[in-house]
Symmetry: C2
Subunit: 769 residues, 2 copies
């Protein structure tokens, strides 16, 4: 049997197994004629893209065997689930992971039955699918994931099949730029295979309707060297695809050998019919090669005898008797299975088995040397930057920073002492901290940053994504998918945990001095809090040392999504490193130096700016009234929950020890107030929580005026303490009201805050006591 | 003075005004030497992109005057705020909107002072900026907005400046495809001007580092005919830019005349130095033409004498004495001001003055003819589809449907009786409901759908965006920006309200039969609820007639963002059209036919699937226990709030009349439970609310099994009613527990729900009473 005959047999086998998954509950080898009771009651699944995916997989196996390549495959098109599952079964990796679904006839029956069946397996290349690192349920991220997997894995080739529907999405369209960020000297290769089959669901796709010439120009312009394969005759298509893949592999070998500064990477443009090899016509309408092949092309097989007969003819057209024995795939098929570790459906990279342990530097050298709380100013992210510099130094091949051009403006530029931004093209004389081997991945696309880093961390490496707080919502939906992926792999025994995904959001809602209202949105915290507790963590370190303690934890943890919101501006510092670590251990804690015993009111705070305002409010209360106050700072928001709802939760006793059981709690919160209510909903004393936070009021103004606009400032907090305690504190009330009036006049007249705000003495905790 | 000398003078004037806005509080005409007290205390703003924007604006004015073109301009690059404000002032539209900021010296002083000043104007082309419809604070949406504005405005040319940083974003990269959706017979033209100045903030940009040849191939491939302009010598650049714009205008005129099926639209690729005409070097470092020109190139002007002197030289280099008199722009400049209505800074399209009123068809013909609640099945979106068909029929030039290829799968395909999908290329023999003049805008990019529809509605037309519930998070951040824009225009007296932006989310969390866990996320409701109450509305119609009533309201309302979540599958119907309208008026209401007087427990529900389950739970309770139950359905989530917090809120009396003041409320909610707690937080009886909703548990399974996995099913609801009332109801409890056990066994064995679920009799409200 020739190579291509084997490839064709494999393709037929994978197609047969795919159709079987969509339709059959029983009679997997078609020993009997199909009867209605062999058919699933609910026909779910998508045939349209599947034969194309099987075609690509079969041909990649030929390449892997012929050239001993190390490959990983990413399935971009939506709903191609039957294909990777079929190939994993053929390659034996499915039976290895799921011994019940083995190569026996009973195993094949289970394989068919479980697909899209209650308690069974999903219709995408989900975490349950061996060798998968990309579900493709939501479209647009395949190419970014592929590049993330390829960075720093020089021997790996990532074949990435991209659907023509998917190619219409913004994130995919932006991902073509990734080609400018691959360094052939240290990175693996990505081989995109653009699969054009004409329609997305029912409507035509843009890229499929472009001519080959137009696509050629488009990709050449973007920096690729396209190879075109198109048609529907299997024999010719096998020849053309094999030739194109050989050419691509030759080109990749040449690029690896010569490592040019700006290589032209190959891309394969594959045109094949939607629903290829499926029913040509159904009920008089053309199906193969049309949008009608998208889902289940023969919907009435359980009810209509001619549909059932047509399904049987279709399945028998693959000649299963040549392909399967009672003991699994026929011997000639097995000749195409790569060596165990080389199977794409068992890729150790994709499955997270290639964890590259991170060597963490000590945080002590980066810590802020505390003298007295509030006595000196420091920028939290600046301190983190020096630690990240050491992290880069100790982990030169397994850590990257991802950012939409904000490393410097977020004060992390100490990292540029040991590395640089990756140049997306020739480096010019006026570029600073830009190099072809830079490890800071700056691209003005949050989608690319997220997608690259997901690919990078899913394959066992580590990263930090730093961005604007407001605009991290750009990746809300990508976060959802990644959180669901991480939640699901925790429930799959053969999947190891992968490194955590950590966000550092620094240009945050309260410090949009240049930008104003459009740059103000703290709602990513709410969005993340909706996801499974076992996966997500939200940190609001109030100063430099607490940021370092949080960073240390985030990079030690596995399998989580951490969101850190921190300040980048010079601000008062509150905690020594030891105190910051203890503070983080519980998740919240009292600032004793500004707190009274047996308080009348608790001032709680979370976030750097709210902490400033709460401390100032405590000073005001202690200076201008007899009210006794306690200041509680929250660094780990999830600690506000009880341990039944979140594993980072704290027992009610610890909660009550800080927040009391009966005193009003005036809570100055970084984000929207509703989140604090949500997290503390079941807590004792919850009805006594009065949360101040962002109320969607803002413009380009001073940082302090922003807090006033949203009633988060020291004066409103102090007034709230009076209100909710019902205390008699006329001096304090007069002082606060007058100060607010003075402030409003001053800021509009002078364009800056009044001197008493600018020169506030944070280091004097208790005037008058 | 020649044309181009006037253009140059305008450019210098706009640059002068831009620098003045960034730096000066006083001495606007430089009558005196600059002194520190003339300088703002906080220097905020961005110079880098501004001179390029001014250059483009000046040249477009020449074109508008020379050819009597109707133009609108969109400023894509971030932080270009000083430029549109400067041009609006020069054109007189700023003084018309803000009489204080007139052409006098005092007016110019105010113009300078107000920029990025507390109580002043933002640093972007915000709603406060005359002639703006695109803030550009978040990058990536300019080209989509431009196309939205151009659809159905055949005489309009939308000039869209795109920054090279912005061009890296996914949404912008995907927006190039818009060119395939413009119909020269009925749409306006978009003229993209890609502005390459080399760096985003501090790092290089991908597109700026591509060669002209590469960019040329890229754009030709995508369907454009590029024109290149590049350099730094103003005289040559003026000549080249004028020639390129003339060529582009000729080409546009030819396309308009000949209306080819696949026109090649012009695009201008403009390379100019970042911070062009600004300080060449500062403190020994090159600034003009480098990343250092991004923000404020001379940061120390208030403290350092040489910076101050350099600023003065810079400002005087524009020769202000030739440009401004005490009464405003010099006469020779005014020669370049277009006719009042033709000024881009007073564009009636951009400012929303060109409202195209929508003729609403009656909903009655589309209504479901109710016989008895629950007696018959109907699909809600199918009924809406017939109404949308009539809406298309009556409004052939001002309504479009936007969707990522889901019109048909969301059962809205009745619209295809009067229109079709817009073809993105040649229409093939197997295409169905696809035409070159189709008005259903299907593109598999939620970003494009959102951006197009924003542009379309901001310019006075109407649309509906229908999508998957889970994947609408893709546009979370775009929604934020649009909500902020709508909130802000409500506070600007000269801005009329624009049509509402309505989402229809139908393939929702509970009906992902094909898709499973990755397609389940109801959190868009939470995301939207964070925004200002005056702008947002959330509707969960439980059946066809309530969906029609909601749609009628959404298309009558102005200036809001409406989110509708509705079912597309055949489901029991509950409300006649009259009842549905009354139900919507209050926002919630009792299903009397299944409710007892003086209830022991309230079963509340919001959403189609939760309503099914709550009705079934009520039936179970009434059949198997003595508990008295009331069923309250919520259609308008905002009605749960009190009127002080939301203008759609209901008074506590009405709330208590439905939900009681002291009975347990078991609430079956479509989304995450926290949202109901957030909305009812201040309500009487809130502590008695027990919300069941989505708990991030799901897979590919039956719809009913999904509700069981999340404890939203009828049995868990009935058990909760027993638990929270503390009632003695052993029969009910046994019945529910046994049914849950039977269900679990049955669904995994048979792949479908047990017969008692499939054949549940919705029309029998009260067995046994």
């Amino acid at each position: 049997m020739t190579d291509l005959q084997t490839v064709d047999a494999w393709w037929r086998a994978a197609n047969y197994l795919s159709v079987g998954q969509i339709y059959l509950m029983d009679n997997p080898l078609l020993r009997d004629s199909l009867r209605p009771e062999h058919i699933k009651p609910r026909l779910l699944g998508h045939w349209g893209t599947t034969p194309g995916l099987n075609f690509v997989h079969a041909h990649l196996n030929r390449l892997i065997r012929a050239r001993e390549m190390q490959m990983l495959t990413i399935t971009g098109p939506g709903h191609g689930g039957p294909a990777p599952v079929a190939n994993a079964w053929l390659e034996g990796s499915y039976p290895e992971r799921y011994p019940d679904v083995d190569w026996s006839e009973a195993g094949m029956r289970r394989l068919f039955r479980q697909f899209s069946f209650p308690g069974g397996v999903p219709s995408h290349a989900a975490p349950e699918t061996p060798g998968s690192m990309h579900e493709g349920g939501e479209l647009g991220y395949s190419l970014a994931h592929a590049h993330g997997a390829a960075f720093d894995t020089p021997d790996l080739t990532v074949a990435c099949v991209i659907g023509d529907g998917e190619a219409e999405t913004g994130p995919l369209a932006g991902s073509w730029q990734s080609v400018h960020f691959v360094d052939p000297r240290r990175d693996g290769a990505v081989l995109p295979i653009l699969h054009l089959n004409g329609w997305k669901i029912a409507g035509p796709t843009v890229l499929a309707r472009m001519s080959d010439d137009a696509l050629d120009a488009f990709f050449r312009g973007m920096g690729y060297a396209p190879l075109h394969v198109g048609g529907s005759d299997p024999v010719q298509m096998h020849r053309d695809m094999a030739a194109a893949l050989d050419a691509a592999a030759d080109r990749l070998a040449e690029i690896r050998r010569e490592a040019p500064a700006a290589p032209r990477w190959p891309i394969i443009v594959l045109r094949s019919p939607k629903g290829w090899t499926g029913p040509d016509r159904v009920d008089g309408k053309k199906v193969e090669g049309t949008f009608r092949a998208h889902q289940v092309p023969l919907p009435g097989v359980r009810e209509e005898a001619d549909h059932l007969a047509q399904l049987e003819r279709w399945m028998r057209s693959y000649r299963p008797e040549e392909l399967f024995t009672e003991a699994g795939p026929a011997k000639h098929l097995r000749a195409l299975i790569p060596a165990p570790e080389a199977r794409m459906t068992a890729s150790p990279h994709a499955e997270g088995h290639r964890l590259c342990p991170l060597e963490l530097p000590p945080v002590e050298p980066s810590a802020f040397g505390m003298i007295r709380p509030g006595a000196e100013l420091a920028g939290a992210t600046g301190h983190l930057g020096t630690w990240l510099r050491e992290l880069f130094r100790r982990n030169p091949d397994r850590f990257r920073l991802f950012a939409p051009d904000e490393t410097k403006s977020n004060r992390l530029d100490a990292v540029f002492e040991v590395t640089a931004r990756r140049a997306p093209g020739p480096v010019g004389p006026e570029d600073e901290d830009v190099a072809l081997d830079g490890r800071v991945m700056e691209v003005l696309s949050e989608h690319l940053c997220q997608g690259w880093m997901e690919g990078y961390t899913l394959t066992g490496r580590h990263g930090l994504f730093t961005s604007y707080e407001a605009f991290i919502h750009i990746v809300d939906s990508m976060f959802n998918q990644h959180a669901k992926w991480l939640r699901t792999i925790r429930r799959i025994d053969w999947r190891p945990e992968v490194p955590s995904f950590t966000y550092l959001l620094t240009s945050h809602v309260w410090r949009q001095d240049h930008n104003g209202f459009s740059h103000q949105d703290p709602g990513f915290l709410d969005h993340v809090a909706n996801k499974k507790a076992e996966v997500v963590r939200l940190y609001l370190p109030p100063d430099a040392n607490s940021l370092l303690a949080v960073a240390e934890r985030c990079f030690s943890d596995m399998g989580r999504i951490n969101v850190i919101v921190a300040g980048k501006q010079p601000e008062p510092q509150w905690l020594s490193l030891a105190a910051a670590r203890a503070h983080l251990d519980l998740g919240f804690g009292t600032f004793d130096w500004i707190s009274d015993a047996a308080p009348d009111v608790v001032l709680a705070c979370a976030g750097d700016v709210p902490t400033l305002e709460a401390v100032a409010a405590a000073q005001l209360i202690r200076t201008h009234s007899d009210l006794r106050v306690r200041l509680v700072n929250v660094v780990d928001l999830m600690a506000l929950q009880d341990p039944e709802r979140h594993e980072a939760g704290t027992p009610n006793s610890a909660f009550a020890a800080a927040f009391t059981t009966d005193r009003p709690v005036v809570f100055a919160f970084h984000g929207y107030p509703g989140l604090i209510h949500r997290l503390t909903y079941r807590r004792p004393n919850h009805d006594n929580f009065h949360v101040h936070g962002y109320q969607e009021e803002g413009t380009t103004t001073t940082p302090f005026d922003m807090t006033v606009m949203n009633r988060l400032d020291r004066y409103h907090l102090a007034l709230a303490a009076v209100k909710w305690t019902g205390a008699d504190a006329p001096d304090l009330m007069r002082h606060c009201r007058e100060a607010l009036e003075r402030h409003r006049d001053h800021v509009r007249a002078h364009g800056e805050d009044m001197p008493e705000i600018r020169d506030w003495d944070w280091s004097v905790p208790a005037f008058g006591r």
